[in-house]
Each structure stands twice: as C-alpha cells, then as structure tokens.
C-alpha cells in the first residue's frame, strides 16, 4: 500500500482519471503472458515524458518500485510488479510523431501498437521489418525493451537493428536523448544498444526513432516436407550457400504438425519429421529466381514434397497451418510455456532432437517451432494439469533444455528476455565478471533500485 499522501501527489501529477487503485484495476496489472503474478499498489497512465519524470522523482523520494508496461504480452514475467509498487501503463502515449520520408525514419511514442506502426509506414511504401508474432498487441516500447524479433529476423534482423534514437527517463528521473536520425553514429557509448533489451530496468523509453527501408515489391512462399530433420537443416544451409537469404525459414516439427492437423486440418503430414515454410521477397523478377533456387535446393536435399504458392490464396493456405499452431497448442493444454532457446543455425537438428529426448524423459508434450534461419527455437511445453508433480517435471525439463542449448554454443533467450522466468540460468550462461559488469551498470544508473526491481538478476547473486 502506498501512503495516502503519495497517492494524492500522483493524482496531482496525472489527474484523478489516470490513477487507479481499485482491487479490480490492480488485479488486471498483476500479470503478463506468463503464469507469474503479483499485485501492484497502484496503476497510473501518464500522458507524456514530464509526468513520468515527476512520477520517478516521487518514487525515488519515497522508495517504491516503478514497472513500465506496454501491451503486457512479454513471455518472461517482465511486467509483473514482483515487489509491488507502481505500474506505469503507457497506452496513452501512442502517437506516431513523424514519418520522415526524406531520411526514411519514423519517430514514435512507446505505446504505439507494432501492427499499427507497420500499417502506417506501409501506406507510405515503406517497411519496418521486425515482426514479433504478437505485433497486434505488443507496443514499440515493449519491443525495444525486449529487443523483440520475429520470423523475418533471419534476413532483416531484430528490433535493435532499427533503433536509431531513444529518449528515455532514467531511474533517477532525468531525461536522456541518445542517437538521432543518422544511420552512422559513433559518438560516445552506444547507449541505444543498452536500452534495447533492457527489460524496463534501465529507463522508461518515452520516444523512439526508427530506421525504415523501402517496401519490397513482391514475396512468395514455399512449403517443403521432410522425412528427416537433418535434411531440413541441410536445406537451410544449402539455400544460404547459394547466397539467398529468405525472409522467413520456419520449421515445424512432427508433434506440431500432429496438433495442427488435429485442430484445423491444413494438409500437413503427421508422419514426417519436419516441414519448412520459406518465404522470399524482393523485386518481382528476383523473387521468382530465388523461389526457383530454393525449390531446387529443397528437392536436392531430400524433401519428400515441395509446394510453391502460385497466388495469394495458395500462399494463405500454406501459412494456414503455421498460423493455427499456437491455437492448436493452447486448446490441448492448460498452459503453454513458450520457451526460447537459441542455437547456431547449424545446430538446429541437434537441439530439436535434444528437446524431443528431454520431453520423452519427463513425459511431456513439447511441440517445437522455430525460426531455423537464425536458430531461434520455440519448444512449447504443454502443461496439462499444472499440479506440483507435473510442474517439477516441467522445471527439470526446462533446466535440461537450456543446458543443451548452451552446450551447443547457444543462448538462453533469442527474443523473449530473462525477466523472472530465466533468472536462475543467467549464471550458467555468463561468467561472474560479465554478470558483475551488468549489475554494476544497473547499480550506477538506478542506485535506489526503483525501475523494475527483482528482474533479470537473482537477488542474492
């Protein structure tokens, strides 16, 4: 509970209608897309940077936590106010401030929904490639704070590759502006990269300047079915050796296809080890050339079936299965834990096999999807009962999956972040010196541990 005098001050800063204290409101800001939850003491919805400055100064004065929140769709417990305090709901700051067609940049407030941003720039013939599959719910601020990626990452990179400038309120209530509209910028430390993936612990991002590129003229899709996972992996490296980088290289494993077919039959085989959904983009002529090479490569590498979409309807058909994958999983379980282990591209078959072995060992169903092009795998653990016994098996399986990923030279998280969910694995991936450096940075900018405390690092480490 915050003292009444603090609530009064907050009302003065934000206006009564933007300060929420009923239990109903607190409950609604106690969770995100993970199973974690904890009630905040208060929720406020600021309208601008100045209000945020005032709120953070107040928080430092009275020592209460502040947790920034966008769409609340992160998969790591990032917006759960685990130590209570104040949730900063950023939905009112949702203006697209500028689209600069001369410099191919855009400047937005953090609460802009990713898909709205896509649609707006695409109307100008421009393109913002990062495409987290939560784009209709996630915010641009949340995307930067989690450094979100998506299927297009293999060709176009992830959010941080498009951030040219950031305005943020520091944990002590100062406003910093770093970067700008230039592509090249080596003045000083690269603080933009520091904010990308900072998970709301180093500053509240209040304005973002993004790089845009011209919208590709055309795109086409291929679906290739493989009896053996290794052949699918060979295909991926084969295509890249031909100097073609597809826009997406999505792998579905056998379990995933079984679930999809049991839900919305989409013509996927249930007896094949995997399928690759490949999309290429570029100029119309070049796309046709790329598709030709990719089709040939799939066949050479042993695909048992290759389907090339000839028009938009067929393209939609090929994607239909992949699009319903999440629903198929959600329907068949009480909870879906979307994990995020990522390995070097060449190790994809190994990690998929490890995941399957671990799943069998702990009697779990773990359909795996992945952005194979960049080795970003999503083993989705289907939790059926959610009782203590099952959760023990789940935890053990997750432990082993991360070990396997790290052993293969990979990382804990490709795009979902650490938050609360992966804290305990941090010391597996990082040596003490690296962890200490990260903590030293946090301590230097947030001496009172105000901003999103209790995340990324375990308390006692």
């Amino acid at each position: 509970m915050l003292k009444p005098e603090i609530v009064k001050k907050l009302i003065k800063i934000l206006g009564k209608e933007n300060v929420f204290t009923t239990k109903e409101d607190l409950i609604c800001y106690s969770y995100d897309s993970t199973p974690h939850d904890h009630l905040p003491d208060i929720v406020v919805a600021p309208a601008n940077t100045q209000e945020i400055v005032a709120i953070i100064k107040l928080a430092n004065e009275h020592n209460f936590p502040v947790v920034p929140r966008g769409g609340g769709t992160n998969l790591s417990g990032g917006t759960v106010p685990i130590q209570g305090g104040l949730v900063l709901a950023l939905h009112r700051m949702n203006k697209i401030i500028e689209i600069d067609t001369d410099n191919l940049t855009a400047t937005v407030e953090p609460g802009v929904i990713t898909a709205t941003f896509h649609q707006t720039v695409e109307k100008e013939g421009l393109f913002y490639p990062p495409d987290p599959q939560s784009m209709f719910m996630s915010t641009m601020g949340g995307n930067v704070a989690e450094n979100a990626g998506g299927p297009r990452g293999v060709k176009y990179g992830v959010t941080k590759d498009y951030v040219l400038g950031v305005e943020a309120v520091t944990p002590t209530g100062e406003v910093v502006k770093v970067g700008g509209k230039t592509i090249k910028n080596v003045s000083g430390y690269d603080l933009i990269r520091l904010f990308a993936g900072s998970e709301g612990t180093l500053g509240v991002i209040t304005q973002i300047t993004l790089k845009l590129i011209p919208k590709p003229e055309a795109k086409r899709t291929i679906l290739a079915i493989f009896d053996h996972l290794d052949d699918a992996a060979k295909t991926v490296s084969g295509i890249i050796k031909q100097r073609i980088i597809p826009t997406t290289l999505e792998l579905m494993d056998q379990k995933t296809m079984e679930l999809i077919e049991g839900y919305i039959p989409s013509g996927l085989p249930t007896d094949a080890e995997g399928a690759l959904l490949i999309e290429a983009d570029g100029s119309a002529i070049d796309v046709d050339r790329q598709i030709g090479v990719i089709e040939q490569m799939c066949k050479t590498c042993g695909a048992r079936e290759v389907k090339v979409a000839q028009d938009a309807t067929q393209e939609a058909q090929l994607w239909a299965g992949r699009r319903s994958a999440f629903g198929a999983m959600a329907r068949s379980a009480r909870q879906v834990l979307a994990e995020d282990a990522t390995v070097p591209r060449s190790k994809v078959p190994d990690i998929v096999r490890s995941i399957q072995q671990i799943a069998a060992k702990y009697q779990l169903t773990v359909p795996t999807l992945g952005h194979t092009g960049d080795g970003n795998m999503h083993p989705n653990i289907l939790v059926m009962k959610q009782d203590e016994e099952e959760m023990k098996r789940v935890d053990a399986a997750i432990d082993e999956m991360f070990k396997a990923a790290l052993d293969l030279g990979g990382t804990l998280s490709g795009e979902h972040g650490i938050g609360l969910s992966k804290q305990k694995y941090m010391k597996w991936q990082f040596d003490k010196a690296s962890l200490d450096m990260m903590k030293a940075i946090k301590k230097a900018v947030d001496p009172n541990n105000i901003l999103n405390p209790g995340k990324i690092f375990l308390k006692d480490e």
Binding site: T22, K23, E24, D25, I27, C28, Y29, Y31, D32, S33, T34, P35, A45, G71, G72, T73, A89, H91, R92, N94, G111, A115, S134, F136, M137, F326, G327, M329, A330, R331, R334, Q335, V336
Partner: protein, 411 residues
C-alpha cells in the same frame, strides 16, 4: 453463484496470450487492461475463487462489453468471454439489483441530446416490444417517459399496424415441400412488417409452407444482457413450446440476435431438446436447406454488407447473406473493411454508453463511406437502428436494408 461456478473451467482456459487485444472494439477505444477479454476473464476468475467481491468497479467493467464475440473467435483457447461477462452480470443483478443502471443512464445520455434521441427510439422500441420489465426495473423508462411524448419526431417510423395484427388477413399457402415455422421478431412486428412480408414471399417462392405462431414473445436477449436469467428462461420455455407445437421441419428467424438466442434455448431450458438444431437464420436456410432461387427483376446499384455479431460469430453465418446479395441481378457487392467488426449498437449498449458506442460506430461509418454504396445490407434490427443513427449523424443517405428484402424485390 451457481452459473458462475459452472464457468470456472472456462476461466482456467485463458493462457493470457493477449490476442484478444487485437479484436476487442471496447479495448480499441479504452486501451486499458480491465476492458479487454483477458482482464475480464481474470476478474471473473477471482470472483469465482472468492478473492474478489462484486463492486461498482467490477460492474462498470463488466458493463463495458458488447457481447460481440470477437474475442472468442480470435482466442486460441476459445475462451467464451462473452458468456463469462453475461454470467457475471447475472451475479451482479442478483446481488445488487438493477438500479445502478439508472445511474449509468442518467450520467451517460441524459446530458446529451443526440444520445437522448437514440435512447428514446430504443426505449420506445423496448416499451412496445413487451420487454420493458427489465428496463422498468432500471428506472430508464420512467426517466424517459416524459421525453417520449416530446420527442415523437425522433422515434423510429413505427408501422401503422403491427405485423402480428396483419397476420389474419395474410393468405398463407397451405402446402409446400418444406414446413417452416417463422419466428416473429419484435422489430419485424413493430417497425418493419414489410420485412415479414418479404420473408413470407421468399419462403413461399422456395416452395415452403410457412407457419407463424402468433403468441411467441420477445426472444429473451435483453433479459440475458441485463442478467435477468429467470425471465429469460420463462420466455425460452414458452417460445420453444409454441414453435415445436407447429410440427415444422425448420424454425426460421429474420433477426440475427433472436436467431442466436433461439439457437441457445436447448442449453437454457429442458423442454427444448432438439429444438435449437432446427433453428436457422433466414439467409442460412435459403442457401443451405432450400436451395437459393433468385427472380429476374434487377436491383441496380452497389451494396455493402455489415456482419451482425450475432449472425457472423453468434451463428457462424457469413457466406449465405453474401451469396444472396451476389446473386441478385444488377447488384454489385463491394466489401467494406472490417465488415464483421461490431457497430457498437449491442442492444441498449448504445444508450447506456452513448459516447463510447459512437466512437465504435464512427470506425464503421468510415468503412462504409470508403465504399460509398447505394445500399447497406444487414440482417439485424439493432445494428440497423445503430447504423441508421450513424449514417444520419454523418448526413449520408444510404438505406439500411435486410438482404431478404433485396432478394424479394427480384421476384
């Protein structure tokens, strides 16, 4: 609490993915978590668990739902948020009674003239449709009754005679290939007897024998919306009995909302076993059962189609009305964007929350404007009133018309 308890499993299905944010029209305007399905589901869950009590804020949140079903259709786990919300409202009503609505009504629309015009229209409709019991308890009608006499100019064009009173003079064919019971909706009865005539003409053109039980009542939707389950069940029992007694092979409705509720009778009352399987929306019936027959007379122009929530998602009927419109000679169907997005009418939602409803409606009107049609077709009277109001506010002279009326013009 019973009804809610049964829904405990339903709340457990939510995996908190947030995908409902994409489609909820209320969330699009409010942008804050309590108003999206994920938030509502969570709150209902806490009520069931006993960790939260019914409060004014809880009621306020549950009231802001259009029952449009968009969240359910888009939910990977198909969580029936709209059912949860209706059950929560029933719980609120049983604990707190209805008078709070009056507060909402007083604050929401009385200070606003445009809102009043719409309210008078809706209230008049409710008063005359025999469903006023719910609204009477709310105090809405009392507050408005004075205005009613002064505001005759803004009332809907009520028909000089109700359809019900015309029935005895209407010669109905006594035979046909299929026996169809036609459920008489309040709106067709009071405002749009021409639609009733068109439906009969169309059904008979399709070689159906039409039987119309005169004593059916309002379908019970408004009662469900305000949490008055008891009355709703009484109505369902009576209507199901009257319609079953006709011995018809099929039961057909020309109102999207009535149809959706008729299709739920078998879940509501015990005497309706097998009843709901016989219920069809008129468009669905013509296309899927009777085999669509179109006449030769053309209807010239461009038509765009608005999907009523209770037809598109409530009954899964999207293609049949479009197929009918496309088959009409001289008529071109041009799709608007977001055709199946709620217009914001939602029964009396537009009266209780006028400003919010109008924001939702504006998006619909813009989508219609972009097509610039000669006709706007839709198969729901509540949508029709809402859309007519919006078009009038934007000075657009586009008639809102039921697809069957356009079809009947070809004969």
């Amino acid at each position: 609490m019973e009804l809610l308890d049964k829904l405990s499993e339903e709340t457990d299905k939510c995996i908190r993915c947030g995908l409902c944010q994409k489609v909820c029209p209320i969330y699009a305007e409010m942008r804050s978590e309590p108003f999206v399905a994920r938030g509502k589901v969570r709150l209902v869950k806490e009520i069931i668990k006993g960790d939260l009590e019914i409060s004014d804020r809880f009621k306020e949140i549950m009231d802001l739902c259009l029952d449009c079903g968009a969240c359910v259709a888009n939910c990977p786990a198909t969580v029936k948020t709209n059912h949860l919300v209706l059950a929560a409202r029933a719980k609120v009503t049983s604990e707190k009674g209805l008078p709070l609505i009056m507060k909402g009504a007083l604050h929401g629309f009385l200070p606003n003239n445009k809102a009043q015009a719409l309210a008078v229209k809706m209230a008049y409709f409710y008063q005359h449709s025999g469903l006023q019991s719910v609204l009477r308890k709310s105090g809405l009608l009392e507050t408005l009754s004075k205005d009613l006499s002064q505001k005759e100019g803004v009332m809907p064009e009520f028909a000089p005679r109700t359809f019900r009173s015309m029935l005895s003079d209407l010669p109905l064919k006594k035979s046909g290939k299929i026996r169809v019971a036609y459920y008489l909706s309040c709106m067709t009865n009071m405002v749009n007897p021409d639609l009733g005539k068109a439906v009969i003409k169309t059904l008979e053109y399709h070689d159906c024998e039409v039987i119309i039980p005169k004593d059916v009542q309002c379908c019970g939707t408004p009662h469900l919306a305000y949490g008055d389950t008891q009355i709703a069940n009484q109505i369902a029992e009576k209507n199901a009995r009257l319609l079953m007694e006709t011995g018809a092979d099929y039961i057909v409705s020309d109102c999207a909302t009535c149809g959706a509720t008729l299709k739920k009778y078998d879940e509501m009352v015990s005497n309706a076993k097998g009843f709901s399987d016989k219920v069809y929306d008129i468009s669905e019936f013509l296309v899927k059962i009777a085999g669509l027959r179109v006449g030769k007379k053309p209807v010239k122009g461009v038509v765009t189609y608005h999907d009523p929530c209770h037809l598109a998602r409530g009954q899964g009927v999207k293609n049949s009305p479009r197929q009918i419109l496309k088959s009409i000679p001289g008529l071109t169907l041009v799709e608007m964007e977001e055709a199946d997005r709620c217009c914001g009418g939602a029964g009396t939602f537009n009266v209780m929350h006028y400003d919010l409803s109008m924001r939702i409606l504006d998006r619909k009107i813009t989508n219609i404007q972009n097509v610039d049609p000669n006709f706007l077709a839709t198969g729901c009277p509540a949508c029709t009133m809402q859309l007519e109001h919006g078009l009038a506010q934007h000075s657009m002279a586009v008639p809102v018309i039921h697809p069957i009326k356009l079809l009947a013009e070809t004969y």
